[in-house]
Structure formats: structure tokens, C-alpha cells
Symmetry: C2
Subunit: 142 residues, 2 copies
Amino acid sequence: MNIGEVAEQSGVPAKMIRYYEETGLVRKPERSPGGYRQYGEADVHTLRFIRRSRDLGFSFERIRELLKLWSDRRRSSHEVKKIALAHVAALEADIIKLTGLRDMLRHLAGKCHGDDRPDCPILDNLGGNPASERRSNASGRN
Amino acid sequence: MNIGEVAEQSGVPAKMIRYYEETGLVRKPERSPGGYRQYGEADVHTLRFIRRSRDLGFSFERIRELLKLWSDRRRSSHEVKKIALAHVAALEADIIKLTGLRDMLRHLAGKCHGDDRPDCPILDNLGGNPASERRSNASGRN
DNA sequence: TATAAACCTTCCCACCACTGGAAGGTCAAG
DNA sequence: CTTGACCTTCCAGTGGTGGGAAGGTTTATA
């Protein structure tokens, strides 16, 4: 199977497959006499696994761990569950942060008349009194 | 005021201030005879405005609009409210997506015993039956 | 006045996970 | 044998930073 077909079957673009190979996420495949990458069914499964993991928001590092566990017949489900729950916690943190931002912004927008007058609590808040504050860090994906 | 002081007062690192200048988000300041950037109080306010907007998750494009409205005495609050509410909607979409992922992952983890046995619904799901699906795009920050 | 130090300048590199494109080689069908 | 789809490698750019080198400026102190 050439890279194009494996890309279609797995849903992972060919460019990405080469990138994953380069970064060591997937194995280097055999090559045809002309230098074309040759894949099998197992590669389709692996790539599909990766794609689904990314759809769930797992980081590359996590996926690397999951892949190792996935291919290990003697793995314990404990490890997997741990990774999954850590990811759940990370998602939870992101959700809380975004919810806070949304509420604050919605609150400000609620106090803004939204008419032709220039008064606007949103801009007032963004520009306004600094008070006590130092760079509050943010983010924190897994 | 040199860049260091304005950085401290606004909470925006000097490196970032130069970057904002380069990308046209803030004006090019005067220079001292020796070539040092010279800022005033107004610049501190502007940078603080930018920092707060970023803390709220606004994109550079949005901030550009907000800055223009902010400096416009004759603006209508309608425009500002529109931008803010669009951002609220974008945040909402992100929250919904992340919540869905969290719930799915938590559900899978709940069905995983988490002991020494290798059986694990999480991995089964990641690797398992493809069914009908094509690359579902994701993301969509403002 | 000399010199150190703190500050500033520009420029380049790296990150992450991709995406796009150019230049050129390979393969299958007509 | 040509066409065109497919593949190869390499190079560059994204966005919003952070790090650092090489060198110029300003200020304080010895």
C-alpha cells in the first residue's frame, strides 16, 4: 500500500504520516524499489489510533505512551486508566478556565447598552484601573 | 520612559512590545539620540489594554479591532458588544467541545477496571472499529 | 575620567504540529 | 512513448513567544 491509500484509509494526511515517521511516532516502513513507502493493514490501524487520540485532544507525548501500551500484550489497564484520567483532569482545568473567561465577558457585555452611545464597560474594563495585579499565567494543555 | 520600565508597568515583556510594534499592533515610538525607544503613559495604558485582552483570550485580530474602538471617541458601544459576544460564542463552542471530550474519556475510563489485567475499553475504543467516519475537523478559536 | 553594570539595540534560532510548494523521480494506463 | 497521477526530498512559513549572541548607550561609582 502506498502512502496515499494508507492516508485515505486512516484519515491521516500523507504529509502528517511522513511527519510522524520523522518524529519517531510511527515506524519507518519498507520501501518499494522506486523508493515509495510501503504500508500494511497494521499501519492503517496505528494511524487510525493516533488520529482518534488526537481527536480526543491527547498530546503527542501521551499518544506515545498510549501507543506503547496498545502494542503491549502484557500491559496492565492501570497504566492506561492513569493516562486517561490525567487527561480528563487537564481537560477539566481548561474547561474551568474558559468558563470563567466566558462568564466574565458575558457579564461585561450584559452591562454594555450596545447602542450608539460610546460608553462601554467592556472597553472601560480592558483599559481601566490596574489595581494590584501581575502577569497571571494561563494555559496548561497536557 | 525606556522599554524596560514600560514593560514592567504594563506587564508586557520587552520582547513582546517589540514584536507588537513589528506586527503593527502598537505604534513605533520616538527614539532617543542613542536609538532607545521612548514611551509615555499612553503607551503603558495601551499595552495594559492588550495584555488584559489577551488574558481574556481575544485573538490579535480582535484586539486590533478593540484597540481601534478604544481610541475612537465617537465609537458606538454596539460594535464593541458585538465583538465581545462573538468571542463569548467562540468560548462557548470550545467549552462544549472540551466537555464532550472529557465526558467521553471519563466514560471510557469508568469502564476500565484499572487493575493488572490487560483488558481496557479505552485502548479498544481508540484502536477499534472505524465505522463510518471521515476526518472531522476541530478547533476554531476566534 | 575610566570603567563597570545595567540597559538597550538588532538579528537569528527554536518551539509545536502542521501546511504548502518546488523540483524532480516512479508508476500505470492509453 | 507520453501523459498524468502519484510519490520523493527539501525548504519555508505559521503564531506568540522565549532564549541568546554581538554590540551600542547610559548611568553610577571608584
